[in-house]
């Protein structure tokens, strides 16, 4: 999936070319991911890992990591290994989520899911391999970042993926299936953990690599928490409104699965309003960084205005 400008993006104050920026970053991330994982013996597992890692997507997580590192005075080169690792971790979570024992999805981004191509056993191992490699990759590939900052990044990533983050969110999400009447608190827990924790880690780790202060990290965290939740609300809305062709997965799946969503609690209009407010809050957290924050501001706007 390539960035297109078929969305209604609010005008930026500057002449910043947001779509040009995204496309250029996406290209660099794709190249880095492609180079990160050569196929060696035993080929099958590397091919399975590459199949899902290089299956496209917006690469929003790596781009957030790089943009935040640059905002804090770091470079793209400092952030790229961590950016790639974040995408490996995200990919691992998608492969495992799609398994028959979990969400049982046959398609992802219009392609067969990993286990449909390589079998369940290899899909489980491909996920494990990507997760382990993500940590190794950060350490062996990052240049010009002090060791103590890298350790902070690794601890933060571990927290974002484990039972205190993504895994914990997925557990509650599985629990909530067939229970359309779960509380707003539970719904928030699911999403701040299942998708929010890793998005927050992207932004926070980008800042950490560049040596962000504790106060800066706090603002970055809140920016990310707000866009993470907005992202999920929009996902829920799109699940209802989008067609299968645009989304590349079975639309209305949440409804079929009798899952509680933000629109099922608030309705479509109120959900849209909440998402917009979260984006306003997210952008307010960036005020301390001034004009330099325009990529992160544009990403926040992009999230609520996207159509797929």
């Amino acid at each position: 999936m390539v960035f297109t400008n078929d969305i209604h993006l609010p005008k930026q104050g500057s002449d910043f070319d947001f779509f040009g920026y995204l496309a250029e970053r996406q290209t660099r991330v794709e190249a880095a991911l492609d180079g990160a994982l050569p196929v060696i013996y035993p080929e099958k597992i590397y091919e399975a890992m590459r199949y899902s890692l290089l299956a496209g997507g917006k690469r929003l997580r790596p781009i957030l990591c790089i943009a935040t590192c640059e905002l804090l005075g770091g470079t793209l080169e400092m952030a790229m290994p961590t950016a790639c690792s974040l995408e490996m971790i995200h990919t691992m979570s998608l492969i495992h989520d799609d398994l028959p024992a979990m969400d049982n999805d046959d398609f992802r981004r219009g392609k067969l899911t990993n286990h449909k191509v390589f079998g369940e056993d290899i899909a489980i191992l491909a996920g494990d391999g990507l997760l382990a490699y993500a940590f190794e990759f950060i350490v062996t590939q990052t240049k010009s970042v002090p060791a103590d900052r890298l350790l902070q990044v690794i601890a933060r990533l571990g927290r974002a993926v484990g039972a205190s983050g993504l895994v914990g969110g997925q557990v509650m999400d599985l629990d909530a299936e067939g229970q359309p009447n779960i509380s707003l608190d539970t719904l928030n827990f699911i999403h701040t953990h299942k998708t929010g924790a890793l998005l927050e880690a992207c932004v926070v780790c980008g800042g950490m690599l560049a040596g962000a202060t504790a106060k800066e990290v706090q603002h970055l965290s809140r920016y990310a928490q707000n866009i993470g939740l907005a992202f999920q609300i929009i996902d829920d809305i799109l699940d209802i409104t989008a067609t299968r062709d645009i989304l590349g997965k079975t639309a209305g799946k949440d409804l079929q699965a009798q899952k509680a969503t933000y629109p099922s609690i608030w309705g479509l209009e109120e959900s849209q309003r909440h998402a917009q407010q979260l984006v306003i809050n997210a952008k307010a957290e960036l005020a301390i960084f001034g004009e330099q924050a325009h990529p992160l501001i544009a990403i926040a706007d992009y999230i609520t205005s996207r159509r797929h």
Copy 2:
């Protein structure tokens, strides 16, 4: 399972109380593991992680890590977080290996496997959670070790678990099922990766934490490679000779699964001879460390003389 002295351990030159040593270390590791993973919300995933992490076992991996750290002049305290992480990773690999899509085992160490108790979805996530937490735990819990050494340890662990290690070995192991005539090279690849890589990481990381030189790491690696392979050969032998009651899993499972093993290639007697030679080689690698190496020497002897 508690260490007992119902094995024929060669007499040590010193008056070193090996079984006392193992029991004391095992107790400390159990306590550290128990404290490493408190149950918080959502409880189910922490309970699933703890179920397998605290299911007993010899704790050979953590003990190897601690013993090597101490041999190189480090302390038990420096090594304990990494030692616990190694056991978390080992546990993750057992949980995922036991899944229906993999080896499909109902019992492990005489207890129901994780997915039989918690379901396949939770078992997959418990493994993911343990793997992610292992990396976080090392960083947040290790004291008095320079940051660059910790980074070395993390890179080494990632390599040991991923497609270049444990995962790669498991892929080839799954491939080899129903093929009793695979080559010795393939059998060696499976075991040096599936079990050997992590055992080697235990020893090497223990050394790294204490600041081992490149030459020392090389000797430690070869010691570990030798005991790793000896360990597997003995496992293959025990799979044939032990009864279900002693082993706590279905004995003769390899034969039933039509899997190539060292005894199927070499015969029982020749396999025993190979294992003994590997232990001699392993101990020779420890010569540069002198008398101080007696715990690692005793562990090498223990491996070939164990009866379960």
